[in-house]
């Protein structure tokens, strides 16, 4: 129904601005419904990173776009948390500072959702409760091993194999 959609839209809009400000340390973000029938209209995104002018998202950088998308995802999770969420290298375009902001944001959702994250980034690995290493020791055949993050040498190490 139209009312439910409009109500959800307003809530996501509010959450989006809040999570954007957390990801970017300031600035603002807006979801704008296009003119016309609310059951058909598309949704525009306009953002203003701190210190910059309001601009169309196509001018944003690769890393900024990934941050905006993550802020939008978190805005939606706040309204309708999904029981588990699988993120595949969502931190790839981010620099170290933004990976830190992303993982901090993630921590706010751990009471509501379970996360499974594929990553190459040591900072993201550090915040994981458990880690699976994936290998193709035999070429072309995938196996998984339980691993853990060793905070002393900032590296991962293997536990006894998981597949026995």
């Amino acid at each position: 129904s139209v009312d439910l959609f409009l109500e959800t839209f307003e809530k996501v809009k509010e959450n989006f601005n809040r999570s954007f400000r957390r990801m970017f340390n300031g600035g603002r973000a807006e979801l704008i419904m296009e003119e016309g029938d609310p059951m058909e209209a598309g949704i525009e995104i306009v953002v203003q990173p701190p210190g910059k002018k309001l601009q169309h998202i196509s001018l944003l950088s690769g890393g900024e776009k990934a941050l905006v998308a993550t802020a939008l995802l978190f805005a939606i999770y706040e309204i309708k948390p999904c029981p588990f969420c699988f993120l595949d290298e969502i931190d790839a375009p981010l620099d170290d500072a933004n990976v830190g902001r992303f993982t901090n944001m993630l921590r706010n959702f751990l009471d509501r959702s379970q996360f499974i994250i594929i990553t190459h980034n040591k900072k993201t690995m550090e915040m994981c409760d458990s880690i699976y290493g994936v290998t193709m020791a035999e070429e072309g055949v995938t196996r998984l091993y339980s691993m853990q993050f060793n905070k002393k040498n900032n590296n991962v190490q293997t536990l006894p194999p998981a597949n026995e």
């Binding site: 439910l4 959609f5 109500e7 959800t8 996501v12 296009e34 209209a41 598309g42 949704i43 525009e44 995104i45 998202i57 944003l60 690769g62 776009k65 990934a66 998308a69 993550t70 939008l72 995802l73 939606i76 309204i79 999904c82 029981p83 588990f84 969420c85 699988f86 595949d88 290298e89 375009p93 993630l106 379970q114 996360f115 499974i116 994250i117 594929i118 990553t119 190459h120 690995m125 994981c128 409760d129 458990s130 880690i131 699976y132 290493g133 994936v134 290998t135 193709m136 035999e138 070429e139 072309g140 055949v141 995938t142 196996r143 998984l144 691993m147 993050f149 991962v156 998981a162 597949n163």
Partner: protein, 165 residues
């Protein structure tokens, strides 16, 4: 509700049976390029009912079955089972644990099971209907698609919000 276990065998590069136990909180998946990390996420998307091979990076569904290596013959069947802890009753069934299974044979024949009982594809998608889990939902964010949420056309962004409503 949360994800407890994933069992994969004969699906994509999982020639041998692989079992992964998940806890609540955050589980990391790491490893070199091409070793099978995204295939883990494809296996979850597949068992939850994905019908488009393209969304699973294949040309046809037969690409989901292990097609062999230089040293191993191709497999005859792909099978994935996903087990949820349903103690909070989010899924509309009276079981404490819910295991969904999907199989595909080389012949093209498919099988679907809920807690080891044969069912139809529709029974699985109906099970997850209002849970926020499913192939179109934002709970499975594929590699490289994160900025598509932002770069999509205004009408496509609407779909994302409609799912939330």
């Amino acid at each position: 509700m949360y994800l407890r276990k994933l069992q994969v065998s004969g699906f994509k590069s999982f020639a041998d049976k692989v079992e992964v136990n998940f806890d609540k909180g955050v589980t990391g998946i790491i490893g070199p390029n091409g070793c099978g990390k995204s295939n883990v996420s494809d296996s979850i998307r597949w068992v939850l009912g994905e019908q488009s091979p393209r969304r699973l990076r294949g040309q046809g569904m037969a690409d989901m079955i292990f097609n062999g290596t230089v040293n191993r013959p191709a497999g005859g069947m792909a099978e994935v089972t996903l087990t949820f802890d349903n103690a909070d009753g989010l899924l509309p069934v009276s079981y404490r644990e819910v295991a969904v299974t999907r199989r595909l044979h080389r012949s093209g024949e498919s099988e679907y099971l809920i807690n080891n009982t044969k069912c139809r594809m529709k029974d699985i998608t109906d099970l997850f209907l209002d849970s926020g889990i499913g192939t179109s939902a934002y709970s499975l964010m594929e590699q490289g698609r994160v900025d598509q949420v932002v770069s999509a056309k205004p009408k496509d962004r609407r779909e994302l919000l409609e799912e939330t409503a």
